[in-house]
C-alpha cells in the first residue's frame, strides 16, 4: 500500500487542472449562495427531566433538596451547519448524472442512494440514564438555637407526611387482612351459601369500604404533600451545537423558593460564618487567589474579581479598611455577594451540564470542517462521549464530584466534520453515492465510473480511496466501537425493559383487551348481566392495579440501577414512594374484593339460594 500511494498522489495532482469538482457551499450568512440542495448536519440534544424534592427540613440544619434526573437523547438539526450542494457543478462533472437526494427532517440521509437505511431509528431516542442525589452543601451552622430554615408551610407538610406514615402503614395492613378474609368468605359462600356467611360478608364489605375511604384520604393527603414538596421541569440541552458546558443554571422557580425556604433566616445564619465572608490571612489581610480565596468564594476568577473589586486588592488590611466608611461599604458589598452566592447554592438547587468525549477521538470545542466548497459533502462522525449532569456549579466530568447522572453514547457534535469530495476529469461519467443512518453516521460510501480514461479513474479513485481510508480509519477506531456497543447496549436494555414491561403489564393488557372487547361489541349491558353488575368496574380496577404494579417495578428498577440509592435521604425517598404505591395497590385490591363479594351475594339472591 505504501508503495503505490505516491503514484496515486502524482496522478491526482496531474489530473487536477482538468477536474470539475462537486461543490458544496457552507451557508453561514445571508450573502452565501442559496441556490441548490440545502441540508443540515445534526447534533445531539438531551431531554433532561429534572425532579427536585425538598427532602429534609431539620431544625438547626440547612434544608436538603434531592434531585432526580432522567435523560433521553435525540438528534436535532444544527442551524449552524447548513450546506448547499451546487447542482451546476454536478452537471458539469457527470455527463450522465442522476441526482437524488434523500432528506429526513431537513437532514441529508442519502445521496444518489437507492434506499434509505432505517436501522438507526431504534437508537434515536432511548432512555439512557436516571439518577438521584441529595444536593448537600457543606455549610457550617451557627449553633445559636434550633433555627428552622424551611418555611412554616414546608415544615407543616413534613409534619403531615410524618404523621400520616404510620397510619397509612397500619391502614394498609388492615385493609389487606380484611380483603384476605373477605376472599375466603366469598369463596365459602360461592361453594355453600348460608345466611350467616352472607351477613359476615355484608359486615366485612362495609368495614372494608370504610377502611378504604380512610386509607384513600390518608394517601391523598400524603401524595398532595409530596407533590407540594416537588418541582419537575424538562430541559432541552444543548440548544446550540457549539455549547459544551452550561451552568450553574435551571434554578428552582422563584415561587418554589419562596414556598419552601425561610431565605432570610438562611441568609442571616450563613452571614456570620467566616467561610462566607471574604477570605483573610492570619493578619486580617485580604486573600483573593487560591482554592479558598475570596474570588473562589465569590465564584469568579481572580481577573474578574480584580475588575469588579478594584478597591479591594489582595493584601488589603480589612481591619483598617473597616474603619474607613467608603472602604467598609465596599467590603460589605463583597460580603453580601458571597453570602448571596451561598444562599443561592442552598435555595436554588442549580445544576450544570457538561459534554465530554471518551477516548482520543473527538473535540470538546466543536468541529467546523473545511470552508472550501470543493471539499464536497460534509457529514459528522459522532464521537463516543458522555453527558454529565452535575449539581451546583461543579465540573463533575473531571471526577471532582459525583454526577447527578451520567449518560454515555454517540454524541454528534463531539465528532469531527468529515468530507466526501468528488472530482471528475472532462468527459468522464459516473457517480458517488453515500448513505447515512438516523444517527448521522455514514453507512455506505460508493464510487462508480463509466469511462476508460485511466487517468480520470485513477484521479477520482485516488481521492476517494484517500477519503475512504480516513473514513474507515475513523470507523474502526475505538470510540466508534464504543458507540456501537453503546447502541447495542441501549437496544439490549430496551429489549429487556420491554420484556419486563410485558411481564408486569400483561394483566393490564389482558384486562384492557377484555374491557375494550366488551365496549366495541356494544355488549356491555349483556356482559354486565352475564358477569354481574360490576364486572366492568372490576376490570377497570384491575387495570389500575396493573399500572401500579408497573410503577412499582419501574421504581424498583430505578432504585437498583441508581448508584446513589444508598444515600440516606435518597433511600428514604424511594421507600416513601414504594409505601405510597403499596398503599394504593392494597386499596384497589380491596375494592375488587368488595366488588366480587357484592357480585357473589347478588348472584345468590338472583338464583334464590
Amino acid at each position: 500500500m505504501k508503495g503505490i500511494l505516491p503514484s496515486v498522489v502524482v496522478a491526482s495532482l496531474a489530473g487536477l487542472s482538468s477536474c470539475t469538482h462537486l461543490q458544496v457551499h457552507r451557508y453561514a450568512k445571508a450573502s452565501d449562495p442559496t441556490s441548490g440542495y440545502a441540508y443540515m448536519l445534526d447534533f445531539t440534544q438531551f431531554q433532561v427531566t429534572l425532579t427536585r424534592t425538598l427532602s429534609s427540613c431539620e431544625a438547626g440544619e440547612m434544608p436538603v433538596v434531592t434531585a432526580e434526573a432522567t435523560v433521553t437523547s435525540s438528534l436535532v438539526p444544527d442551524g449552524s451547519q447548513i450546506y448547499v450542494i451546487d447542482p451546476a457543478s454536478m452537471i458539469s462533472a457527470f455527463k450522465t448524472s442522476d441526482v437524488l437526494i434523500d432528506y429526513k427532517d431537513g437532514r441529508l440521509v442519502g445521496f444518489n442512494s437507492s434506499t434509505v437505511d432505517k436501522t438507526g431509528e431504534v437508537a434515536a431516542s432511548v432512555i439512557s440514564a436516571a439518577g438521584k442525589i441529595a444536593m448537600l452543601a457543606a455549610v457550617p451552622i451557627p449553633v445559636s438555637g434550633a433555627q428552622q430554615f424551611c418555611s412554616d408551610a414546608a415544615v407543616a407538610k413534613f409534619k403531615a407526611l410524618k404523621e400520616n406514615k404510620q397510619p397509612i402503614k397500619e391502614a394498609t395492613s388492615n385493609v389487606e387482612d380484611a380483603e384476605a378474609r373477605l376472599a375466603v368468605l366469598t369463596s365459602q359462600f360461592a361453594a355453600g351459601p348460608t345466611e350467616a356467611l352472607r351477613k359476615q360478608i355484608k359486615t366485612l364489605t362495609g368495614d372494608i369500604k370504610t377502611a378504604r375511604a380512610g386509607l384513600d384520604k390518608l394517601t391523598k393527603a400524603s401524595a398532595a404533600a409530596q407533590s407540594w414538596l416537588t418541582e419537575k421541569v424538562t430541559i432541552n440541552w444543548p440548544e446550540q451545537s457549539g455549547e459544551f458546558h452550561r451552568g450553574p443554571g435551571n434554578a428552582l422557580g422563584p415561587a418554589t423558593v419562596a414556598r419552601w425556604f425561610n431565605v432570610t433566616a438562611i441568609r442571616d445564619a450563613i452571614s456570620s460564618v467566616p467561610e462566607f465572608n471574604p477570605a483573610l490571612d492570619a493578619d486580617d489581610k485580604l486573600v483573593v487567589a487560591g482554592h479558598d480565596g475570596t474570588a473562589a468564594r465569590l465564584g469568579t476568577s481572580v481577573d474578574e474579581y480584580e475588575r469588579q473589586y478594584s478597591k479591594l486588592p489582595a493584601g488589603t488590611d480589612v481591619r483598617a479598611c473597616s474603619a474607613n466608611p467608603e472602604c467598609k461599604s465596599v467590603i460589605e458589598s463583597l460580603q453580601k455577594a458571597i453570602v448571596a452566592r451561598q444562599v443561592n447554592r442552598i435555595t436554588l438547587a442549580q445544576i450544570s451540564f457538561h459534554l465530554a468525549r471518551r477516548g482520543s477521538y473527538g473535540s470538546e470545542t466543536g468541529s467546523v470542517g473545511p470552508a472550501d466548497a470543493k471539499a464536497g459533502l460534509r457529514y459528522r462522525v459522532p464521537a463516543a462521549g458522555s453527558l454529565y449532569v452535575c449539581t451546583f456549579d461543579q465540573a463533575c466530568q473531571n471526577g471532582t464530584a459525583t454526577p447527578l447522572v451520567r449518560t454515555d453514547g454517540a454524541i454528534a457534535q463531539l465528532g469531527s466534520v468529515f468530507t466526501i469530495p468528488f472530482s471528475s476529469p472532462a468527459f468522464a461519467s459516473g457517480g458517488v453515492n453515500v448513505k447515512f443512518d438516523d444517527q448521522g453516521r455514514l453507512l455506505q460510501a460508493g464510487l462508480k465510473r463509466e469511462t476508460s480514461v485511466a487517468a480520470g479513474v485513477a484521479n477520482t479513485a485516488g481521492a476517494a480511496v484517500d477519503q475512504a481510508s480516513s473514513i474507515l480509519s475513523a470507523l474502526e477506531k475505538a470510540p466508534i466501537t464504543e458507540a456501537n456497543n453503546a447502541t447495542k447496549l441501549a437496544q439490549a436494555r430496551k429489549a429487556l425493559a420491554d420484556a419486563e414491561a410485558a411481564l408486569v403489564k400483561s394483566p393490564q393488557v389482558l384486562a384492557t383487551e377484555e374491557l375494550n372487547l366488551l365496549k366495541t361489541q356494544q355488549e356491555l349491558a349483556v356482559a354486565r348481566a352475564a358477569l354481574g353488575p360490576d364486572r366492568a368496574k372490576d376490570l377497570s380496577k384491575q387495570i389500575e392495579i396493573a399500572k401500579l404494579e408497573a410503577d412499582l417495578a419501574d421504581l424498583q428498577r430505578r432504585q437498583s440501577a441508581d448508584p446513589n440509592a444508598q444515600q440516606e435521604l435518597v433511600r428514604a425517598q424511594y421507600e416513601a414512594q414504594t409505601e405510597m404505591l403499596l398503599a394504593l395497590r392494597a386499596s384497589k385490591q380491596a375494592e375488587i374484593g368488595v366488588i366480587e363479594a357484592d357480585r357473589a351475594l347478588e348472584q345468590a339472591r338472583s338464583t334464590g339460594k
Partner: protein
Amino acid sequence: MKAGQFFFIGLLSVGSAQAQLLELERPKAPPKAAPEVIGGYKAAPTDWPSTYVFTGATGNPCTATAVGPRVMVTAAHCLPAMSTDAMSGKIKETAIELWCEKAPLNTFGYDLALCATSAPIPIPGGRPYESVQVDSRPQAGTPLMMLGYGCTKKGGAGGVLYQGESTVGTWVNGGKQFATQGSVALCSGDSGGGAYSPVGKKRKVVGVASDVADDISRFTFLAHPAISSFIKDWQTRQFDPKSGQAVTVEICGIDGSNTYCRG
C-alpha cells in the same frame, strides 16, 4: 423649640421600642426525663454558677458566661446579624441592665461579644465568676470541657445545660478559632457557651462556641491577639448609658480579684 424637643423625644421612644431586648436567666435544673445529649451529659447548674442563657437574635437560645462581676461573654452572632448596633437587655427577675458590643470583624471568625451590666451579676451561693485565658493559647490535644445550654439531640431545641469533654484540634480561620472533633459536638443553643481548660476546678474559659459543621465544632479563641486587645480596649470605654458614668468592668483572668474569681 418645644415642638423640636417633642420630636426628639418621640424618636428616642421609637428607637427604644424597636430595640431588641436580651433577657438573661440562670439555666434550669435538668428534668429527670430529659434525654442525654449525644456524646455529652447533663450538667448541674450549681457546678456552673456563672452560666446564663438568653434568647438570641434568631429567637432561639444562646449561652453566656459571667467572667467578672459586671461582664458577660457570649457569641457575636447571637446578637443581630450583619448589624453593628449595640444590644441592650436585662437579667431576668432583677433590675440589672446590660449593654453588649460585638468584636470588630466578628463575621470573619472573631465571633465574640462582651456585655457590661449596671450592677454586679448575681451568682448563686456567692460562687466565683469564671476566669478567661487571654495570655496563652492551649496546645492542640489539650482536654476541654464544653458547656452550653444546648439541645438534647441533633437539630432539636434543648433547654437544659449540658457539658461534654473534647480536645483542642486544629486552628482555623487564620488562628482566630480552634476546632474540636469527636464524639462531643456543639448543637443548637450552645452558641456563646464556654470551652474550659484545664478540665477541673481551676478551669479557665479559653474559647466561645461559634458554629458546627459535620460534627466539627468551632470556638472563638480568646487569646488571639486581636480578641484579647478588643477585650482590653472594651474595658476602658464602658459607661453606664443612663448615668453616663464610667463603669469599671474587671474581668477575671485579666484584672479581676482573686476574692471573686475562680482559680
